[in-house]
């Protein structure tokens, strides 16, 4: 056990986590250079394209130090986005130490802080690593000061590195061995293993990634998932060396995988404790939480006949993403679909992209919503995440919406602009601190609903990329809410309804009407688009009628062109939904979601 080290790399998005992981993999010769590709651990197209890690991956790095001692270094990769903070916390619980990566030009950012707090909670050894020192704009001195002042870590312990050109990799590996303690635990005690991730494999079922704290698990054992009480027979255990390598057993201190005929990823829970059925542990490992979605939106197939195919795609998708929840939903405008819950907006985008890209679905997504809470006159409390179920406003005594505490780290010169943005988004209780000269940390209490649209994009744009943002859910607060309906030729398009704060309703209504006016093609009759609260119209736009749609000529040279146009329009028509007698293209539903005019 003393030759095992379990560690994670934590970093703000873009600070070079995947590149560092790549370099470690290369250095330890786990794969030869021929097989190597960038972002080795990021296997999904979308991860490589966006340069983010969505699913964490583990890799067991063989390392021989200069004394000739052989080590197993288990790198537990973590997703790099606030949407997945619970998954990050479970990965951290499986480690004894972390590399805290800070970009030599960007310095400490809000997420770095959030990550540090998470690591401290788990009493982990923290090795600060200053990355990208090869950049001409690198400012190691300043970053060291920030590490000292903002993170409260000893700047002299920081390792300088360039994951890009390989500088400092050896130092990092040595520090992992020297500074991070080996795991403790007793292989003879009853089994406790923490599930920190799960992947679906179409041949083997669910591959559970876990850290064994006590005990031993072998092929043929019957394991029990403690929170669910389900039992499975172990088919294989092993470790990850890019590919799975079966082992005889996994025992205390080790990180690896279990394959046990678990059908879907949803049959497991991240944070779940695995024990042996025959000799169970007296109690599970601490920290288990059933993650609840915070953002909701409905998905409809563009062609209503594709409902079944969408259902199958969701079922398949869900095999590998336990955090997506969905249930049947139906809309007068869009027919049968699904109400889905996501961990956050990035998660929502990932689901949308993967459904379209990997599962070939053409879908319409409705506006994302948070879960609102309504106290009714008769004393009942109603949680509503779908505008369709907005209660009769006459029966509502009070309403509440979820609030977050946003923490924003920016260079001082952007304070004014960021304060303004936060106030526009109904931020309250602002608090400012100056962790280092020239840098400001602003915290705000803000409605989650104001953040889920495009807050992060706006923040990035007004701070020219220097602003960083992290948040945690804090509580529900009283709020004046209304349901904004959109009517097309007098007919309510329920899929476009949203719940909004009373003060923002008119603005949103005007914007949506304008957007739809640009997106809905002219038809043979005039189309009125209205925004309404209750029966009251608060915004309106009009699309004038088409009076003539026929070209003058159709001879030799025109025919192919015309037919191609028709083929294109026909395809477009498949992406239309007819509401009343108006054809609304998919793009209109999407456009209505956007709050700002990009």
């Amino acid at each position: 056990m003393k030759h095992i080290r379990n560690f994670s790399i934590i970093a703000h998005i873009d600070h070079g986590k995947s590149t560092l992981a790549d370099r470690l993999i290369q250095y330890t010769k786990l794969v030869d250079d021929r097989q190597f590709r960038d972002q080795m651990l990021d296997t999904m197209d979308i991860e490589r394209e966006r340069g983010i890690t969505i699913k964490s991956q583990t890799v067991d790095l063989p390392y021989v130090d200069d004394r000739g001692e052989e080590y197993e270094l288990n790198l537990i990769d973590t997703p790099g986005h606030v949407d997945f903070s619970y998954e990050v916390s479970r990965a951290l619980a499986s480690c004894e130490g972390v590399l805290l990566l800070v970009d030599a030009s960007q310095g400490v950012e809000a997420q770095t802080l959030g990550n540090l707090y998470a690591a401290l909670e788990h009493n982990l050894v923290i090795i600060p690593v200053i990355n990208k020192i090869d950049l001409p704009v690198a400012d190691v001195g300043r970053v060291k000061t920030e590490i000292d002042n903002e993170l409260g870590l000893d700047p002299d312990t920081a390792i300088l590195c360039s994951a890009k050109d390989g500088t400092g990799i050896e130092d990092i590996l040595r520090a992992i061995v020297d500074r991070i303690p080996p795991p403790t635990g007793d292989a003879e005690k009853p089994l406790t293993a923490l599930i920190f991730d799960a992947h679906y494999d179409s041949f083997r079922g669910t591959i559970v990634s876990c850290r064994v704290f006590d005990g031993t698990v072998r092929q043929g054992d019957t394991i029990r998932l403690m929170s669910q009480g389900t039992t499975y027979r172990v088919e294989e255990v092993g470790v990850f060396r890019i590919n799975r390598e079966p082992q005889k057993e996994l025992s205390a201190g080790e990180v690896g995988y279990i394959i046990a005929g678990i059908k879907t990823v949803s049959d497991t829970r991240i944070g779940e404790t695995v024990t042996l059925d025959a000799r169970p542990a007296p109690q599970p490992l601490p920290g288990f939480k059933d993650v609840k979605p915070v953002v909701f939106s409905s998905i409809y197939p563009i062609a209503s006949d594709d409902y079944q195919s969408l259902l199958e795609a969701l079922e398949k998708y869900k095999l590998n993403d336990a955090s997506l929840v969905y249930q049947k939903d139906s809309s007068a405008a869009l027919g049968q679909g699904f109400r889905c819950g996501y961990l956050g907006l990035l998660h929502l985008e990932i689901v949308q992209e993967r459904l379209e890209r990997e599962f070939d679905q053409s879908i319409i997504m409705t506006a994302p919503s948070v879960q609102y809470r309504f106290h009714l006159d008769d004393g009942t409390v109603l949680d509503v995440d779908n505008p369709l179920y907005y209660p009769d406003p006459g029966t509502i005594k009070s309403s509440e919406e979820p609030f977050i505490r946003a923490s924003i780290l920016i260079p001082e010169r952007y304070v004014g602009a960021v304060m303004k943005l936060c106030m526009e988004r109904r931020g309250v209780n602002s608090h400012m601190s100056y962790p280092t000269p020239g840098r400001v940390e602003i915290t705000f209490d803000m409605p989650l609903a104001e953040v889920i649209f495009d807050f992060y994009d706006r923040l990035k744009s007004i701070t020219q990329g220097y602003g960083s943002f992290d948040y945690e859910l804090i509580d529900y607060r009283e709020s004046s809410l209304v349901k904004l309906d959109i009517l097309v030729n007098g007919e309510k398009v329920d899929a476009l309804s949203i719940l909004v704060h009373r003060d923002s309703a008119r603005d949103r209504a005007v914007r949506i009407c304008d957007r739809l006016k640009d997106e809905i093609p002219r038809q043979q009759f005039k189309i009125a688009i209205q925004g309404a609260i209750g029966g009251k119209i608060i915004s309106r736009s009009t699309i004038s009628a088409y009076r003539k749609d026929v070209t003058a000529k159709c001879y030799g040279g025109d025919i192919t062109r015309k037919r191609k146009l028709l083929e294109k329009q026909k395809k477009g028509k498949k992406r239309m939904r007819i509401v009343g007698n108006v054809e609304i293209p998919q793009s209109a539903f999407l456009a209505a979601l956007k709050t700002d005019d990009e």
């Binding site: 026929v550 030799g556 015309k562 028509k573």
Partner: protein, 372 residues
């Protein structure tokens, strides 16, 4: 139905004296290359004669065919007769520009077997003609129409353009009345359209072209149809009228009935019944290819059954012959048809769905409206 089954032959004469700012048909200025062009066209005819031995229509269009001198026209028609076999009843059409019209030229055409001329009047109104950048004046157009009418062709047609700035239903009707007063058997009325890469499209982009909006264009269209059909014509295609079904352009109808046709000359399109191909839209490239004895085809496509069907809908709804009921298929097609009937766009006559006058206004949209 006007289907004879025999293919049609089109010859593109790519020469103009001046370029009209709205036109995007391919042409070059001047006729200095007419000799080389003629040789190439006859060469191209020979290359195609195994595939297309026989025709019952010949259409000489452009460009400006009437710019060709007498020898060249004679050489062209005689040359084609030498390569292909034409039926006795072949419809032979040539396009004429008003300022090229002389009694002598008309007599020559007649002697060469031309039995149908199409006169590119566009407008009789001085301001409108100038706006369109035509070479002729209003008076010249009237004079040309008179000469053509007196020349003794079995049939002649007049081409007009409408949808001009400031044009009203009334002024448009005046133009139509004058055109009909010469007794043509055929009338083509094209709404002015801003095409791809033309001076008008640049003008339009800069906001310098005040064309009527679609509501106004619809009024001009309806007023036109009402007037011309009131004079005894059939509105047999969106932009075409004939004095009775026997006077429809046999050649043009082939385009809309998937009858094969061969196009000779640069930019000309051809169709075999399933495959469509088109020549280089560039005189040098065209001449180069044919000089080296090869075809001058720039591109081609072979239509799938679905594409054939889509084109049948496209053509059908644009013409008085409509679409066969059995072309409609798929879930909900009965409902869609009923919807179109209710809107007054189509009527069902026997086994066919026929576009109404209102339906013509949306003819390019009807194929979509009946499709799933």
């Amino acid at each position: 139905m006007n289907r004879t089954g025999h293919p049609g032959l089109y010859v593109h004469v790519p020469f103009c004296k001046t370029k009209c700012p709205y036109c995007d048909f391919y042409s070059v200025l001047g006729t200095e290359h007419a000799g080389k062009w003629l040789k190439a066209v006859l060469g191209e005819a020979s290359l195609n004669s195994p595939e297309f031995p026989r025709f019952d229509s010949l259409y000489i269009g452009g460009g400006t065919p009437s710019l060709l001198d007498d020898d060249e026209v004679e050489g062209l028609i005689a040359g084609l007769r030498g390569v292909f076999r034409f039926d006795d009843t072949t419809e032979v059409t040539i396009e004429l520009n008003p300022d090229d019209v002389t009694k002598e030229k008309l007599a020559l055409y007649r002697s060469l077997g031309v039995n149908r001329v199409s006169l590119g009047v566009q407008s009789f109104d001085g301001d409108e003609v100038r706006f369109l950048g035509r070479r002729h004046s209003g008076r010249q157009a009237e004079e040309a129409a008179r000469l053509v009418a007196e020349a003794g062709f079995a049939e002649f047609g007049i081409d007009l353009i409408y949808g001009l700035p400031g044009q009203t239903v009334r002024s448009w009707r005046k133009t139509l009345r004058l055109a009909l007063s010469y007794g043509p058997a055929h009338l083509s009325c094209y709404q002015l359209t801003v095409e791809g890469d033309t001076p008008f499209s640049r003008l339009a982009r800069e906001g310098g072209l005040a064309l009527p909006d679609d509501a106004r264009a619809a009024k001009l269209f309806l007023g036109m149809s009402e007037y011309v059909t009131g004079q005894g014509f059939v509105h047999y295609e969106v932009s075409n009228f004939a004095r009775g079904e026997q006077s429809v352009s046999r050649h043009n109808v082939k385009y809309w009935q998937h009858t094969p046709y061969l196009g000779l000359g640069p930019s000309a399109h051809s169709f075999s019944g399933r495959r469509r191909w088109w020549n280089h839209r560039n005189l040098d490239a065209y001449l180069g290819q044919l000089n080296s004895g090869s075809f001058a085809v720039e591109g081609s496509e072979t239509l799938s059954e679905e594409q054939m069907r889509l084109e049948r809908l496209l053509f059908g709804f644009r013409t008085m012959w409509g679409v066969e009921l059995k072309e409609l298929s798929g879930k909900g097609c009965a409902n869609r048809l009923e919807d179109l009937q209710q809107k007054g766009f189509v009527e069902v006559r026997g086994e066919r769905i026929v576009t109404t006058l209102t339906g013509y206004l949306f003819a390019d949209r009807l194929p979509l409206m009946v499709s799933e």
